[in-house]
């Protein structure tokens, strides 16, 4: 048996629907035969009648509805058709779901699935990585699973958590990543994972960039350079301890993210490591992000816009030379 990242997401939802009657799925076309834009809910409407609901094209109201349902005992999973469309729901997510617990002491257990990240030909409005916007605001958990296993266990965990969870699933990984089987349990939420051990350099990353970083690490390994790759798993909470421990071992930090370069996760990681672990660093920290333009449509441009194993490896070499 072999299961993809996308199938893991579908399986997690099936399990949740099966085992928890509070769960329902809510999004555009999720209940149709198509099963959402990426078929992440394919077949679920049939298997769980009345619990996989199509919505109008109304991202604000979709999340607003989910909030209201969550306040009344449900555990809605909202599917955004693309992460990019969550810009329409941003107010409900940040200002309603994100503030609710602190204001009222009543938590809002919604899970918002954001199919994000670039794939070739998707262009400026179907490629975005929005984790940094959601992580910037208080009151939200922001998950960025990078493996099939995490895609599965973290989605299950997301629904169990009483707070609103932004679950950033990467479209590029949907079909590219496969696993043999799905685990019962993953690491605890908020704990980063050492995806690869190495002594020369720490690469801190998440989501699809974990794969690129692992490829870069292999390339570097062939040159005798051993990179440690830390997969953050959640960018909020961000597991500073694991990152610091790794930097303590390697003395060098490279942060890799796919979103835009100003601010965001890579800046946050560098700020934390340099603030809390300045003395651990033997060289200036380095980061790679996407370029500071909209995400291009053309594959040639797209592959130059995002970090890749090649550019990561190149930066790593520079950093190791310092």
């Amino acid at each position: 048996m072999s299961i993809t990242y996308l199938e893991a997401i579908r399986e997690a939802q099936a399990k949740l629907l099966r085992e928890d009657e509070r769960v329902f799925i809510y999004g555009q076309d999720v209940g149709g035969t198509f099963g959402g834009a990426f078929k992440a809910t394919k077949g679920l409407a049939k298997e769980f009648p009345g619990r996989v609901l199509n919505t109008p094209i109304s991202e604000d109201a979709i999340v607003g509805t989910a909030i209201g349902a969550a306040l009344n005992g449900m555990r809605p999973i909202v599917e955004m058709q693309f992460a990019d469309f969550s810009s329409i729901a941003l107010n409900q997510i940040l200002n309603h779901a994100g503030t609710h617990y602190w204001r009222t002491q009543v938590p809002v257990p919604i899970t918002v699935r954001l199919p994000g990240g670039g794939t070739k030909g998707s262009g400026p409005f179907h490629s975005q990585s929005m984790e940094s916007i959601y992580a910037h605001y208080p009151g939200l958990i922001v998950m960025t699973p990078a493996t099939v296993e995490d895609a599965y266990t973290m989605l299950i965990e997301a629904v169990a958590i009483d707070d609103p969870v932004i679950y950033c699933e990467h479209k590029y990984l949907y079909y590219h990543l496969k696993a043999d089987k799905l685990p019962e349990k993953g690491l605890p939420t908020g704990r980063a994972r050492i995806a690869r051990a190495g002594r020369d350099l720490t690469i801190v990353t998440y989501s699809a960039m974990v794969q690129e970083s692992l490829s870069a690490a292999e390339e570097l390994a062939r040159e005798g350079l051993e990179s440690e790759v830390v997969d953050l798993r959640t960018v909020k909470p961000l597991d500073t301890d694991t990152v610091l421990a790794s930097v303590a071992r390697t003395g060098r930090l490279l942060c890799v993210g796919e979103s835009f370069p100003w601010g965001g996760a890579t800046a946050e990681i560098i700020a934390r490591v340099t603030s809390a672990g300045f003395h651990l660093l033997d060289a200036a920290p380095v980061r790679i992000n996407a370029k500071d333009t909209p995400i291009p449509y053309h594959p040639n441009l797209w592959s130059a816009h995002r970090p890749s194993a090649k550019t990561i490896a190149a930066k790593a070499r520079m950093l190791l030379r310092e």
Partner: protein
Amino acid sequence: MLQTAPRSKRTTAKKAPVHERFREAFRWMLLARTMEEKLVSLYRGGHITGGVYIGKGQEAISVACGLFLEKNDIFAPLIRDQAGRSAFGEPLVDVARTYLGSRLGPMRGRDGNIHRGRPSDNQLAMISHLGAMVSATVGALMAKRFKGEKKFVGLTAIGEGGMQTGSCHEGMNIAAVEQVPLVVVAFASHDLVERAIGYGFEGYSLDGTDLNACLDVIGSAVKRARAGRPPQLVVAAMLRLSGHGEHDDASYVTDEIKRQPFAQDCLKLAEKKIVDLELVDAETLRSWRDDAAAKVEEAITTAQQDPQPAGEKEDWCALHTRELLDQME
């Protein structure tokens, strides 16, 4: 499906039988007015931080919003819903505590003034962004349906300004898609009831200064929603008899507008009806007034003696799941 009941004019309303809950409603209106006058005087005296937003002139429609809901129904009040909130069951001390920033209020000083609620008691706590509460109410109703509850309704209020938001549009539309038992009550000086038909709502418009009409129309809209009719839109024409907040002297309201019938004070009209029709005697009326004043006094006094929050002691954790708090430093 549009039912544009002709605006019930006061003349006809006079002839209509007095609603059985008229007296009860009037008392909530009185309480709301008394409370808000007190808040305004506290504000003027510098005792309230931030704004004070009152519902003067809107008590008739607001009280009707709260009055017909049961404990298990969902109420998402808006800015000017003091009367409705009280009628629905909000303790008066919640108002005082929220305005005065008490640590013991429902918002514990974290949020203020009208941004309060007790979601666990089905009083949603509005966020400022207008329109946002419509879909939240829809969601609450969907949850009840999922859980197999029966005969519940949800009601939310919105101003005519708020009806122009995309959020309100999406929320109303989704209510129709889901056919939840929602009543949307719009406080509007224009007649926006035509929107009902476009959403597949049943729509009514009415004179928001006329308590009897408010009770009749909103009471029946709530009943219809409860009975499984499509979502209901009630548009009540009236004038806000104050500024947006107490920092706003409403000097932009012209004398001509103030002379319009919809600019009359619903509370005075209701009282006049009580007197004219001798619904209660003067003595009772006075006792109601005293009672309202006493309740307000008590709520304010309590809140004033409450502890205030303190930065050093505050629990700065925006998550219920404490162990997931990001350790930033």
